[in-house]
């Protein structure tokens, strides 16, 4: 398998990696960088558990090759709190998920948070319908989604994007 040297900015840190052509971005994050917050639920782009931001856009990292991320900025759930500068400070979205019990088993949560964050970045004041549509690719079997939708609305009210990401 041909190897490629790539440079990817992950959660604000520049990473230099040699990766084979067929390594997915998900495998790169989990197996090479030990960023295991991003989950593997189907490896087919169907469940959304592996959602990350690439240059601010949500993508299923199982459906993207690591080489395609060369020169780009990747944000994972581990980077969400850091977007707010202080590492101990949760983002308004993370806070709202805790506050509203929008988390149960927690396996879909990282992907849901990333999709919701991307939504609030492009639409800081979404309707319930817009939130539902933005999360349609993130499957959750535990919560029934309503608390997730409420939490995203609450985060929007508090201003998920008001502080602005520190490095995007």
């Amino acid at each position: 398998m041909a190897m490629h040297s790539i440079t990817v900015t992950v959660n604000g840190s520049r990473e230099y990696l040699d990766v084979p052509s067929n390594l997915t971005l998900l495998q790169m994050l989990r197996d090479r960088l030990a960023l295991t917050g991003t989950k593997n639920g189907c490896e087919a782009g169907e469940c959304g558990a592996c959602t990350v931001l690439v240059d601010g856009e949500p993508v299923n990292s199982c459906m993207m090759l690591a080489v395609e991320a060369d020169g780009r900025e990747v944000t994972t759930v581990e980077g969400l709190a850091r977007l707010y500068g202080d590492e101990d400070q949760l983002s308004p979205l993370q806070d709202a998920f805790v506050e509203h019990n929008a988390v149960q088993c927690g396996f879909c949560t990282p992907g849901v948070l990333i999709s919701a964050h991307a939504l609030l970045e492009r639409n800081p004041d979404p309707t319930g319908e817009e939130i539902r549509e933005a999360l349609v690719g993130n499957l959750c079997r535990c919560t029934g989604y309503l608390r997730i939708i409420e939490a995203v609305q609450a985060a929007a009210e508090k201003g998920e994007v008001s502080d602005g990401p520190v490095y995007l």
Partner: protein, 788 residues
């Protein structure tokens, strides 16, 4: 500490695991790091539903560089199972479903393991297969398990060797034959449910390490670390003390991660490459057909009532399609048998519940454990009876539902519950009999004449279905600063078990909730015993054990301080982390003294020492039932009951159903954490709704045809109702912690029949078979249009 919550029982405190889970820090089994010595495994699965295994040739697979071992049934002559030990680890001479593992490959990378697995050559000789449970129960059906009579079986399970019936439960009460002539209305029907899958977002995964010393460690995503240790140890003759099961957070279980499914393969494959961790992960496709599924059911049910609407008789036969191995499923059929009437007081009952082998994926525990399956038919018949005698369906249920102190179908006295209050709550919340305009958006009906609005109601009961004596244990120990570690063996699946453990410990100790930590991951080497995190038994059973451990620790503290102050322990209390005396009004903070004890006067020695409390709980009162009649003193520990009402509309042009609102109410005994109960109620309602539209589908050869998340759809964010109204009543359970009983499974049991009743209200059409696909509804409407 920023927050300080005194007396947390009954309060909606935040989950102990929430921050870990929103930051990506929570560790699941696939996140555990094992380093470069890790090997990867892949299973070789049968392409046939029923076949003889003639020959396995692994030579080509073994030639692939990086392959370390291939293991087959020849290497592992072992069976495994919980209630009926019928499942070979690897198929021996026979495969019984498409997807049955016949071999496993271990390699240095997952990619190599996948490639090599395709090179294992297996020669099969096909056998006739059977898929329908009623057909499979006939005497001339192809026999799946000729050795059924030789399998080890629990004392309360009754297989019928020489047939495909792995369990036959009989319930006989009163005399149905003499009751039928007295009935003013009788409704009879056949109801069918397909196999469905749990679809946890985290697929099953396991890593095993077999040390050359004989010590074995298994990391799994498991609801049952202790039961896994027990079953695998027995199956592979490993001393229990040599087998350690470590189970980090579980990314959704719903019963699918109860008992043992794929985990045993990691262990037998690791035995072939001692000293190397072997990782086995299920693909999503394997998750659907190669782990476990909910059993199918064919129910023939007949129920009658008098002119006043009093239920008089019920006769039912439940045929559960148990799949190829029924090691767990037999107990689902048993549970369906001893609860076969649903939550109703019926004087004359004849019930037969069968678990039947079929050439399909393995049926096993799923949220509700037989109850969603049987309520599907019962709750539709109740509506039909009410209609025939001209009663309101909610009123009919109020009249007939089970009440405290009733002698229920097994002869047991019904423990305290209030189902009528649950019915009242949901009818009020849904606006019963005040049907709105047929439109989700509230547009007037004339603009949406093709939409029909309907309301439906359904009620339920469910008892924890388990052996009579499943135990829980707990340890509570203090740190120097008086923070507390609670050690339990119960698992956190998302339901909130860890949070409840912390609340119970804090309440019983008298310390703030924020001072309590739960020792995780669950590790059979360090965690105290817990049977399994199943049956909605944890808040009740583990809760009792944690409460007992905390009370033990509290007693040690009070006795020490009473001795120190020369007071009576009965005059002392622990409040907000301090010992206080109601007599002398003295105070002693717990800090330090809970580890170092207290000094005698002038430091003439010390008293006390590290405070460690132990607690346990096990029900001791459940009796076996008569095998001919199902009668006995105490069939189960208790029942949880509840009601749901649904408001929906059907698009008559497409057959699409949109559920607008679900109202649920359950009798939880005591809400330890009200918001966590609401979270279960909401998630369960959506799970129940989703289940009404789900089905695993197979071709005529028994090959699965929709084993992906695209072809097998579960509810998404756009499908869920705009509103889910949750509520509870609190009739204390005699032996629950503060009266609490479980509710985790109950919240989805009756959703599907409530939806079917609402569809009937909207269209006047009954659907006896799940799923409620748009196609099926559309075709039924077409048929009526053609007739009309």
């Amino acid at each position: 500490m920023a927050q300080f919550t005194s007396d947390p029982v009954g309060k909606s405190v935040h989950r102990v695991d929430a921050v870990e889970k929103v930051t990506g820090a929570a560790v699941f089994v696939d996140d555990v790091q094992f380093g470069p010595g890790t090997y990867f495994a892949r299973l070789v699965r049968s392409p046939h539903a029923h076949a003889r295994v003639v020959h396995i040739d692994a030579s080509r697979a073994l030639e692939v560089p990086g392959v370390r071992a291939v293991v087959t049934g020849k290497d592992v002559d072992a069976r495994i199972g919980l209630y009926l030990i019928d499942r070979p680890v690897f198929a021996g001479e026979r495969v019984r479903y498409v997807g049955e593992p016949v071999a496993g490959v271990v390699a240095t990378s997952e990619e190599i393991a996948v490639e090599a697995a395709q090179l294992v050559e297996v020669e099969y000789e096909e056998l006739p297969a059977v898929f329908d449970p009623v057909e499979a129960a006939q005497p001339d059906a192809p026999l799946l398990h000729p050795d059924l009579g030789e399998y080890q079986v629990a004392s309360f399970i009754f297989p019928e060797p020489g047939t495909n019936v792995s369990e036959h439960f009989r319930l006989r009460k009163g005399d149905v034959e003499s009751a039928w002539p007295r009935c003013a209305a009788i409704v009879e029907g056949t109801f069918r449910l397909p196999q469905i899958q749990h679809v946890p977002i985290e697929p099953h995964g396991a890593v095993a390490l077999w040390e050359p010393s004989g010590e074995v460690t298994l990391w799994t995503s498991s609801q049952s670390p202790f039961a896994q240790r027990d079953l695998i140890a027995q199956s592979l003759s490993i001393p229990h003390g040599n087998l350690r099961v470590v189970s980090p957070y579980v990314g959704g279980g719903f019963g699918g991660k109860a008992g043992v499914s794929m985990e045993v393969y990691a262990v037998v494959l690791a035995r072939a490459v001692k000293g190397h961790p072997v990782k086995l992960r299920m693909t999503r496709e394997e998750e659907f057909v190669g782990t476990t599924v909910r059993q199918s059911l064919v129910a023939h049910t007949k129920i009658g009532c008098d002119a006043e609407g009093n239920l008089l008789a019920m006769e039912t036969a439940y045929y559960f399609g148990g799949g190829a191995y029924n090691d767990y499923g037999v107990n689902i059929a048993r549970a369906a048998g001893y609860s076969c009437t649903g939550p109703y007081d019926i004087p004359n009952v004849k019930g037969d519940s069968y678990c039947v082998y079929t050439n399909q994926p393995i049926g096993s525990a799923m949220r509700g454990f037989g109850m969603p399956e049987i309520h599907w038919g019962i709750e539709q018949i109740m509506d039909q009876l009410a209609e025939q005698i001209g009663m309101d369906p909610a009123g009919f249920r109020r009249r007939n539902c089970v009440r405290t102190g009733d002698t229920i179908l097994t002869g047991m006295e019904m423990p305290a519950i209030d189902l009528v209050a649950c019915i009242d709550k949901v009818t009020e919340a849904i606006g019963w009999a005040k049907k709105g305009a047929p439109s989700a958006s509230g547009e007037p009906s004339r603009t949406t004449p093709h939409k029909k609005r309907g309301q439906g109601i359904a009620i339920m009961w469910k008892a924890p279905a388990m052996p009579p004596n499943p135990g829980s244990s707990a340890v509570v120990r203090f740190n120097e600063d008086a923070t507390v570690n609670v050690e339990i063996g119960a698992q956190e699946l998302g339901q909130g078990a860890f949070t409840v453990a912390a609340q119970v410990a804090a309440q019983a100790l008298g310390v703030p909730y924020e001072w309590v930590r739960v020792s995780a991951p669950i590790d059979t080497k360090y965690s105290p015993y817990e049977w399994q995190t199943v049956a909605s038994r944890i808040t009740w059973s583990m809760g009792n054990a944690v409460k007992a451990a905390a009370e033990d620790a509290r007693r040690q503290i009070l006795e020490l301080v009473a001795d120190h102050w020369d007071e009576d322990p009965d005059d002392l209390d622990v409040k907000d982390g301090k010992v206080i005396s109601y007599r002398s009004e003295r105070e002693q903070p717990l800090e330090n003294m809970v580890v170092y004890g207290l000094p005698n006067e002038n430091f003439e020695g010390w008293k006390g020492g590290p405070v460690v409390g132990h607690g346990r709980f096990m029900p001791t009162y459940v009796t076996n039932l008569d095998p001919e009649t199902g009668q006995g003193t105490r069939a189960v520990v208790h029942y949880t009951v509840g009601a749901q009402a649904v408001d929906l509309e059907v698009d008559t042009e497409t057959g699409q159903v949109e559920v607008l609102k679900i109202a649920s109410a359950y009798d939880v005994g005591k809400a330890i954490n009200p918001d966590l109960i609401m979270a279960q109620i909401e998630g369960g309602a959506v799970h129940g709704m989703s289940s009404a539209f789900e089905a695993l589908r197979f071709d005529e050869a028994g090959r699965p045809i929709n084993a992906s998340l695209v072809d097998y759809r579960i509810a998404t964010s756009v499908d869920v109702p705009r509103e889910i109204h949750g509520d509870f009543v609190e009739t204390p359970l005699e032996d629950g912690p503060w009266g609490a009983r479980g509710v985790g499974e109950h919240v989805m049991v009756q959703t599907a029949p409530a939806i079917a009743n609402a569809i009937n209200d909207a269209l006047g059409i009954r659907f006896n078979d799940l799923p409620l696909s748009a196609e099926k509804i559309f075709l039924a409407l077409e048929e009526r249009r053609e007739e009309g």
